[in-house]
Each structure stands twice: as C-alpha cells, then as structure tokens.
C-alpha cells in the first residue's frame, strides 16, 4: 500500500520539478538546454517507434523533421498562417512524406530497407538544397515568427519569444508524445509492431499484415518528427538544409541506441544524456566524437539493449508491469 503512494509521489515530484524548472533553474541557459532536450525527446521517441518497436532501421528521420520545419516555416512566413494551424500541417506533411517514402521502401526488408531510406534522406536534402524557389536553398529561411503571444488573465502573458513560455510549449509537446506513444505501444497496435520486429513470418501467420503496420509506425513516427521540426523552426527562428542532413539522422539514431531501444524511458534518457553531456564535457571537445564512436561500439557489443535496457534487463515495454498493478 505504501508502495503505491511512493510511486505516485515520485511522479508528482517529477511533474513538479518539470513545471517549476524555469523558476528553479539558475539562468536562462539551462532553460534553453531544456527546450532543446524536449524537442529532441520528441524526435528520439518518434524514431524509436520505428526502430526500437517495429525493428525497421530508418536513416531518413531528419527528412521528416525537416519537412515539418519547412512546412510550418513557409506557411507562417509566406502565407500568413498562424503557428497553431501550421503545426498540425507540418506534422501531416511529414506523415505524407513518410507514406511516399514508405510505400516503395517497405517492399524490401532489413538492410535493403535501411539503405533505401538513406538514399531517400539524401534525396530530400538535395531537394531542400536545390529547389531555391520554394526553400530558398542553402540561404535558408530567416525571420520565422515565434508562436503568437497568448494572453492569460491572471498570470502574465505567454510571450513565446521568451524562453519560459517556449519551455512549457515544448514540455507539453514532449509529455504528449510520451503519453501518446506509451498508449500506442501498450495497445494491440503496439504489440503488432513488436511482433513484426521479432518475427515477421510469425506475425503474418497470426493475421498481422507487416506492410500496413510498418507503414503505420513509419507514418506516426514521421508525424511526431514533423511536429518536432515545427518546434525547432519556431524556436530557432531560422532553418536551412544544413540542419536536416543524414548526419542529423545518425545523431538521432545514436541517441535511440545508446539510450536503449524498445522502451519509452530509454530514448528519453538517450536524448537527455547525449544533448547535455557535451555541455559538461567541454574540455574534452576534440575527443568528443572519438568517445561517441567508442561508446557506440562498446554499448552495441556489451549491451545491445542500450544503457537503459542494460539496467533493466526486461525487454517487453517498461510500463507493462504498471498495468497489472492498476496504477
């Protein structure tokens, strides 16, 4: 009985820290870092759905993130849309791109699939770079407007050019992503994803059509990535093709792996760890990439479940246990 209270209390504490963070943090820099982490949590969780749960290694995630960013940037910059309507449109455009890429790509499997996503990722980047009439090419899109101020009656207005307001926006986005995806992976759909990851033949034999479920995870993952892209665009206020290269896709994948695939907490940890570590490791700058590479190899060899998975050696979803306890 006490155990339950403690569990609940722990989450309440976490929630409190998250909400009060901007006021607890010593200075704005940490709020900035937290915003970047929150956006990256969305990105990493969305890739984890595709890679960790459905077992499809995709190298084109930056393309979805980029399409979301470009869509919302262009809609707000050139066509006067408001951020709130541009956001879902950005996510939808990413989902649509995922459909376009996924339909041909999922016709092949495993390694072939991964390489074809690499090719598509590069293609999308080449288009960002060269279709100057639309994207302004390598010059990028400066002057993206932040989300419009929300006037609040009691508290001061939510001015999004201020970090605090944006922190809450991305916090809500990150929390929503965690909750929605957690729901998803615990549902029948989520279990179908895992079945496909474990053994596609078996999945088909029990009536799961791999193609449709793979596409589904791809599109959903892309949509969240697109949403993250919109947040990125309206926080940094400038985007260019340089932010959506295959290296970015590798980066996100790295976070998924090192944090731990196939769980919800793992990627969150990966995102936080790999985003904030450089800030604490500034002295070891030149060695940073060497360490990453080494870390990746070591993690893969010794703990294929990632650092988080290694700590917990249960492979089936993190929250499965909670269900039984009726928390």
């Amino acid at each position: 009985m006490k155990g339950n209270y403690w569990k609940l209390g722990k989450w309440v504490l976490l929630l409190f820290i998250l909400v009060a963070f901007p006021y607890l943090a010593g200075d704005d820099f940490f709020i900035h870092l937290a915003i970047v982490i929150e956006i990256w949590v969305v990105l990493v969780l969305s890739l984890n759905l595709i890679v960790g749960y459905t077992g499809q290694v995709s190298f084109c995630h930056a393309a979805f993130y980029g399409i979301g960013a470009y869509t919302s940037a262009l809609l707000t910059l050139r066509m006067g849309f408001s951020f709130w309507s541009a956001l879902p449109l950005g996510a939808i455009s990413a989902g649509f791109l995922a459909l376009l890429i996924g339909l041909p790509s999922f016709r092949v499997r495993g390694a072939y699939f991964s390489i074809i996503t690499m090719a598509f990722g590069e293609l999308v980047q080449i288009i960002f770079h060269n279709w100057r009439g639309l994207t302004n090419g390598p010059d990028g899109l400066p002057g993206i407007p932040p989300p419009p101020t929300i006037p609040l009656p009691i508290l001061s207005n939510f001015v999004f050019s201020e970090k605090t307001a944006f922190y809450y926006l991305s916090l809500i986005a990150a929390l929503a992503t965690v909750l929605i995806l957690r729901r998803l992976v615990q549902s029948r759909v989520g279990r179908a994803f895992v079945a496909i990851r474990e053994d596609e033949g078996y999945a088909r034999s029990i009536g799961i059509d791999p193609m449709s479920y793979k596409l589904l995870s791809f599109v959903i993952g892309a949509m969240f990535a697109g949403m993250a892209g919109c947040l990125y665009a309206h926080y940094f206020l400038y985007i260019s093709p340089a932010s959506f290269t295959i290296f970015q896709s590798f980066d996100i994948l790295l976070m998924v792996i090192i944090g731990g695939m196939g769980s919800i907490l793992g990627p969150i940890f990966g995102a936080i760890f790999l985003t904030s570590m450089p800030e604490y490791l500034h002295l070891a700058n030149e060695y940073r990439m060497v360490i990453y590479g080494l870390l990746l190899v070591v993690v893969i060899i010794l703990a294929p479940q990632g650092l988080v998975g290694a700590a917990q050696s249960i492979r089936t979803g993190l929250f499965a246990g909670r269900e039984k306890r009726g928390a």
Binding site: K7, K10, W11, L13, L14, I17, L18, F21, L24, A25, G26, D27, D28, F29, F30, H32, L33, A34, V36, H129, N130, R132, G137, P138, D139, G140, P142, G143, S161, Y232, F236, L237, Y238, S240, A242, S243, L265, I268, F269, I272, F273, S276, P278, E279, Y280, H282, N285, E286, R288, M289, V308, A311, Q312, S313, I314, L318, G321, R322
Partner: protein
Amino acid sequence: MKKWALSFGVVALFVMLLGGSINPFPAEAQSKQVKIGVLMPLTGPLTLSGTLTCNGIKLAADEINAKGGVNIRGEKHTVDLVIYDTKCVPKDSATATERLIIRDKVPLILGDFCSSCCFVDAPVADKHKTVFITPVCAAGGLTKQGFKYFFRMGVHNFSGVITMMELLRQEGIKKVVLIAINDAWGRSYTDLYPPALKEAGFELVGVEYFEHGQKDYYTLLTKAKGMNPDGLLVCAEMEDFAPMVIQAREIMPGKKIVETGGSDLSQILKLVGPQKAEGLKSVSRMPPPTPEIETFNEAYRKKFGSEAGSFSYSGRDSLYLAAKALEKAGTLTDPEAIRAAVSNTELNGFIGHYYFDAKGENYIPLGIHQVEGGKIKYSWIGDRGKMEAAIKKLIDKK
C-alpha cells in the same frame, strides 16, 4: 524494482541539470579580464577554415596581451578567449551562443564561420543585447534582417564581383564559364555574376555547379571545354579549387582561370605546384604583404606549426577591432555603449580598412593576386574609391 531505479535515474538526471544551474560554476571573472566569446567550427568538415580563423584570433589575443591588454578607462584588461566548437551545426552554435552570453557573460562574441549558424545566433545575440561580429560570414541576407547587434567584417561577396569585373577586363576575357560550389556562398555568386557580367559587357556561356569535397571535376570541366570559353570563372574554396586546377590543366591546358576570392593562391601554389599554378589569378582576400603581416606570419608559424591564411587575418582583424571598440566604449557592462562603439569604430586591418554602415555592413574592396614565375604577386586593381561605391550600390540594390 528495476523500473523504479530507472525512473529515479531520470529524475536524478534532471536534478543534476538543475543542480548545475543552482550551484553555478565557481565564480570566474577575476578582475581586469575581458572575456571574448569565439564560435568556430573546430571539428567536422570545415575544421581547416575554422581552425585558421580561430588561430588568427588566438594569436591576436597573445599580441594584445603582450602589449598590456585592453585599456578600459585606464585599467588594463587581459583578453581571455572563451572558445566553443560549433561544428557549423546551427543548433549547437545557438546553444553555444546562449552559453557564452548567459553563463560566461561575455560582452562580445566573434564568430561563427558558417552563415547558417550566424543566422540562428544573431537573433539570440540581439535578444540579449550582445555584440556579435562575424569575421568571415558572407551571406548577403545577414545584414538585411535588422539585427541591431550583428556586425559583419567578412568581406562581402559583392566586393569579389566588382573586383572580378576589373580583372576580367584586364585579362581580356570575353566569354566566361562560371563554375561555382553548390552552397550558400557559391549560390550568391551565381546570383550576382550573371547580371553583373551582362551589364559589363561580358558573355556568360555556361554555369556549372559542384559539391564541396567532390574531388572529381572531369565531367564538369569537359562540359565547360565544350562551351569554348576564353576563361573559367571559378567560385571555390581551397579544398576544391586545388584539385580542380590540376584537372583543368589536364583537360584544358593553357586556359585562363580566374577565381573569385574563395581560395588563397599561396596555399594553392603549395598544393598544386608552380607549374600547374602558373598564370592563376584571383581576387585576393590576402593583402600585399607588409612587415607587420610578415611578423604575424612568423609568430603564427612558431605558435601553430602551420601557415596563416586569409581567414587567420580576418580573425585577427576582428579581435583587434573588438578590442579597439571596447576601449572606445570604456565599459564592459553597458551593451548600448558597446554596440554604439563598435558601430563607430574603424580599423586599418590586414585585410583592409573596416568601417560599418547603419546595418552593420562593410564595403571593403579587394585586390588581386596571381601566380607569376612561381611566386605570388599582389596588386590593387582599378579605382578603389569607385569600387567601394559600386559595392555599396550593389548591396543597397539587393
């Protein structure tokens, strides 16, 4: 049990983040120190150029400190550089900018190298009222966004264009193939050159692109050969120009090649050898050598074990201007005063005579340099007053 440990781990991580922010790092600023932030790509594909620029800044800092430092209202301050590697990734550059301003509390920032980074950094600097000077970025749009605290010391692309017109005239080149790198810098030239060439009466018979690090230009050069130009007008940085020259000499021996200022011919000469480099002419970001520059080069060689480049001079100039401006402002804590001081500071730097207009733009005209008899020869070309006016006209028109 394990789950519990895990969630705790996440909370702990957040608390650590928090803890880092509540207990700030040990109080730094000893008195009599001025911290200058530096943002450069020190790893990744642009390492070479970023390192060249950063080293120039470092050496300049040594020089200034050797002479007693920066004099702020009678008190000598040593220059303390706070350098962050941005890898030319915009998100990392923005984070580093925030860190420099909020945590390190620098009154002024020099950097970045890549325009894509400058675009995200400038709004951050503006919001926090911190002067942001880029020694090298060339994207035209940067000074059009209305960033009050952003200043550009990098030589404008337009300067290269105006100088090039003079050079083409001098060389008697009428038909030109334009070969440019497919990035923001190169594209700005493929935007600018066609109308400029047309207006000046030259004939542009083709435009070709290449990617950074492409290495193989045979196809491109073969295509260019087929267009029968009098000369090749190239917009490339050293890493790409060097192999391109070699291959161009193979496919079109003797064809005139002029470059728009992205490459330093002294480095090219070393990389491709005197035979292949002979006859190359380019708009020069490198100034004719003076005793002061030679001293700098010597010191650079001794300190870093490699040769300084025009980027190093740009870096050096930016720190000297920053120091001069800070002395003029007489304060490290009044952002408006610092901004006003920078805006009104002029400097006779290595690259040229710097001064800023209301938008933070400069109009330095360039000279040319060429490889003659295995040696580099620098010269000014044309009427510099007229060229400055032409550059200003081009910039204002855009």
